[in-house]
Structure formats: structure tokens, C-alpha cells
């Protein structure tokens, strides 16, 4: 990958974005029959690409898939992505075509064949959703297999295409990764359920059992949405929190500048959060005049972020429905967390700092 990247990388990305509009025309008739309903397209697409991100709850997936359908027009980013993905997946044609014509300047001959081959490749791609590398290899292999079957295009051409395809694929992945707020919770729409429709439309007979299972899942979610749409509207959008700003004060103190802001966004008392931070990091500190937290010891933003993450998992998100919309109340010296969206209520662990080793200045303790 690394070897190929520099060749294709910069120009391809730009071209891709521009080219989205005029993708379909030349091979339109071929492409159309396999294209499914808009909902599923979006699913497919997002699904196919964001596989690498963390797992999402079924709820989130559902929500994503529902949102995808009506909102595709307004959300600019999404629309763009979707276009790309659309180009990529459901009929394979568009992307292939684009790549072939515009950036690569390859021979025009093999386009039809490769396009036909691309659909199965895409489907296989869905099945192996683990790692980029793995995906790449399998995809390539699959492509080549089908190409042998088809016996139409030149082998060399195809290989190059496959590589190019992978390159773009990875690019998109990277973009997605970068675009993510690093401190946002992973709500990756890893909808395994989706992405089946395009194959359903085609008349190929598949020997993959996964295809059937996925098709069923898609149907299940579709009907579920139809039955109770409130499931999807209830959850908020992705839960984001500004990354902690850590400044250094002197050599052995760090300042956590936006602690108040973060606490406000989490709807938690700053005291509670600060107590947790100190207990977890095994230090002490104080709040200065302008509401910033002064922590003893040297800490990187990443480290504080990790601790905050743990705080959110433990004390903010509802264990039942994963919603961050919870209230923390104290009764009889015990903290209770009650969820605003699902109504569940549970006690949470008290913050205990545990054993603190004696660090430095042993003379004072020895006396």
C-alpha cells in the first residue's frame, strides 16, 4: 500500500470529489438494475467503508440507517461521502469508470468487464470486515478471480485497477478516521446488516451463507424501523466532548484548562469529576481562580483524555441504553445514576483513591 500511495494519492482524492457528479451516464443501463432503494444504498456505503471503526450498538446502527435515507441531501459531508460510496459499491460501475477515465488514463476497453467484476468483489469485501490489509488482499484476489472468469480484460490492466481501487479505498478510510473527532465516542455505523440489497437485486447466485443472513438482518431492521420509528429519534446524535486542554505550569504541574466546560457538557459536578481524576491519576491538585484545574505531576492531554473516557463510561453513559443523558444523585452516601432516556437507575461505584505510596520527602514520614 505504502508503495502505491504516493503515486495515486493526491490527485486521486481531488479528482474523486470532483468527478462524483458525472459518474453514471456512460454505462447507465448496465448499472441501473442493480441499484437498490436509496435507503439501502446509504447503508451499504457507509457500512462498507467504516468497518474499521469500533462496533456500534444495534440501536445506533438502526439510527444511522434511518437517518441516512432522508437526510442525504442536507448533510453536505454525508452526501459527499455517500456519493463516493455509492460510486464505490452498489454497482461498482461508477467508481470504476471514474477512476479509469479520469485519473489513470488506462485503456478504456476493460471497463465493462471490470465493472461487472466489481460487484462481487464489493460483496466479498463486506464479508471480510476485519483489517485493511486483509481486506485489500482478499479484495484483490476476488477481483482477479472474477476477471479470470470473465476472460475479457487484460490481466495487467485489472491488477492496476485493483490497486488503484484499494488506494482510493484506503484514502477514504483515512479521511473518515481523520474527520472523526478523536474524543468523540465511536458510533461507527458498522452496519453489518446493510449492504445486502445490491446483491438481492442482481441475478447472480451466491454461495455465501453470510449473504442470506445479512439480507435477513436488513429486512429485520427495515421492519423494525417501520414498526417503531421512535427508536431512532430518541437517541441524540453522537456524544462529543471537547478534548482536554492541558497546559504545563512550571516543571511539575499541569493545568487542565477546560475542565469546567467538559463537566458542563457531561452534566456532572466538577467536584465529582475532579475527585475521579485525582483518584485515578494518583495525584492531588487544586482549582485555581479562573476555574482551571491544577494537577500535580506532568500529564499529556492523551492521558487525561483516557481518564475522562473511563469516567464517562463509568459515570455518564447509561449501562442499559448507552445514552449519555443521565443524572447522578447522591442518596445515603451512595451515588445513583438514573437515565433520562430509558429510565433505568443503578448505583455507581464510589470514587476511592486507594493506596497511595509515599513519594518523595521520606524524612518527614520517618519521624
Amino acid at each position: 500500500m505504502a508503495a502505491e500511495q504516493p503515486l495515486f494519492d493526491p490527485s486521486l482524492k481531488k479528482r474523486k470529489k470532483k468527478a462524483v457528479a458525472f459518474t453514471e451516464d456512460p454505462l447507465g443501463p448496465d448499472a441501473d438494475p442493480t441499484t437498490p432503494a436509496p435507503t439501502t444504498i446509504e447503508n451499504t456505503t457507509t457500512n462498507g467503508d467504516v468497518v474499521d471503526l469500533g462496533p456500534a450498538t444495534a440501536h445506533e446502527q438502526m439510527k444511522r440507517s434511518l437517518n441516512g435515507a432522508p437526510d442525504s441531501v442536507d448533510a453536505v459531508d454525508e452526501a459527499k461521502e455517500d456519493d463516493d460510496f455509492k460510486a464505490m459499491f452498489p454497482d461498482g460501475l461508477k467508481k470504476k469508470k471514474k477512476k479509469k477515465d479520469i485519473p489513470m488514463d488506462l485503456g478504456e476497453d476493460g471497463s465493462g468487464a471490470s465493472a461487472a467484476a466489481a460487484v462481487p468483489a464489493a460483496t466479498e469485501d463486506l464479508d471480510f470486515s476485519d483489517i485493511k490489509k486483509k481486506k485489500k488482499s482478499t479484495k484483490k484476489k476476488a477481483m482477479e478471480d472474477f476477471e479470470k472468469e470473465l476472460n475479457e480484460a487484460k490481466a495487467k490492466d485489472e491488477a492496476e485497477e485493483a490497486e488503484a481501487d484499494d488506494g482510493e479505498h484506503l484514502n477514504e478510510l483515512d479521511e473518515a478516521d481523520l474527520g472523526d473527532d478523536p474524543f468523540a465516542r465511536n458510533e461507527a455505523p458498522a452496519g453489518i446488516d446493510s449492504g445486502t440489497e445490491p446483491w438481492l437485486g442482481s441475478d447472480r447466485d451466491y454461495t455465501y451463507p453470510e449473504a442470506c443472513a445479512l439480507a435477513l438482518l436488513t429486512r429485520f431492521y427495515a421492519s423494525l424501523h417501520a414498526a417503531n420509528p421512535s427508536l431512532l429519534t430518541s437517541t441524540g446524535k453522537r456524544y462529543t466532548i471537547a478534548p482536554p486542554q492541558i497546559l504545563r505550569e512550571g516543571v511539575r504541574k499541569s493545568i487542565f484548562a477546560n475542565v469546567a466546560d467538559i463537566c458542563k457538557r457531561m452534566h456532572r459536578q466538577p467536584e465529582h469529576v475532579i475527585q475521579f481524576l485525582f483518584a485515578e491519576m494518583g495525584t492531588t491538585g487544586s482549582v485555581d481562580g479562573s476555574g482551571r484545574l491544577v494537577i500535580k505531576g506532568r500529564f499529556q492531554p492523551k492521558q487525561v483524555e483516557n481518564v475522562l473516557r473511563r469516567y464517562i463510561v463509568e459515570y455518564v453513559t447509561c449501562k442499559t441504553c448507552k445514552s449519555p443523558d443521565t443524572l447522578l444523585t447522591k442518596e445515603n452516601r451512595i451515588f445513583f445514576m438514573s437515565c433520562e432516556s430509558c429510565g433505568s437507575r443503578r448505583s455507581v461505584n464510589a470514587i476511592k483513591s486507594g493506596f497511595q505510596a509515599q513519594v518523595g520527602r521520606r524524612k518527614a514520614t520517618a519521624q
Binding site: E280, Q300, I334, F335, N349, G354, F355, V359
Partner: protein
């Protein structure tokens, strides 16, 4: 939609007193806590607290010291009991070591940044 499997259990039934077993609520006594503490400079200390009774802390400490090539000591704390204290950031190594020795991972709590 009716899911037959779920019918036997009423999720909204009253559970009774949420604090039923009072001594266990909010306490973290069953966990092994692994913490880290910053010292001066890049130096750190790792502490292991809440070791189950069936393990001999002295022998474990010896094994740790040998395995991780670090020094360490056994500290008697009036609240926490005996605490193993190791030099340097050995948290992940301790977790690995303990899980390989058969301590279930969900009883180990890894603290720190």
C-alpha cells in the same frame, strides 16, 4: 412483534431493596487494583492492591521482580492490607502476568492514565 422468549421475565418487577446486600454496594473489595503514581521526572511507581488471600504476596513480589527486572517492596497499609509496590510502569506487565497465572481479567482493575 411478540418475542416469546422474553415473556417469562418481567423487567419492570420490583427488585426489592436496591441496597439489599448492603455491605457490597459501592465497595470494590473484590477487585485487584493496579495503580500508577508519578514520581519525580519520568519515574513512576506501580502499586498492586487487593491481592486474593490464596496468593502469597512475598512470592509474587519475588516473581515480579525477577520477571520485570525491577525492584519492589511489600508495604503494609492499615486500610489496604499488604500492597505490592514496584518501580516503574509495570501495569500492563502485571496484568499480563496475572492473567497468565489464571486470575480472571475482569477482577483486575487497571487505574491511571
Amino acid at each position: 412483534m411478540n418475542v416469546q422468549n422474553l415473556n417469562s421475565f418481567d423487567p419492570f418487577a420490583d427488585e426489592g431493596d436496591p441496597l439489599g446486600g448492603n455491605q457490597d454496594v459501592g465497595s470494590q473489595q473484590n477487585y485487584l487494583h493496579i495503580r500508577i503514581q508519578q514520581r519525580n521526572g519520568r519515574k513512576t511507581l506501580t502499586t498492586l492492591q487487593g491481592l486474593p488471600k490464596e496468593y502469597d504476596p512475598k512470592k509474587l513480589l519475588k516473581a515480579f521482580k525477577k520477571e520485570f527486572a525491577c525492584n519492589g517492596t511489600l508495604v503494609d497499609d492499615e486500610e489496604m492490607g499488604q500492597v505490592i509496590q514496584l518501580q516503574g510502569d509495570q501495569r500492563l506487565k502485571i496484568v499480563k502476568f496475572l492473567t497468565e497465572e489464571g486470575i480472571p481479567k475482569n477482577t483486575i482493575k487497571l487505574h491511571g492514565f
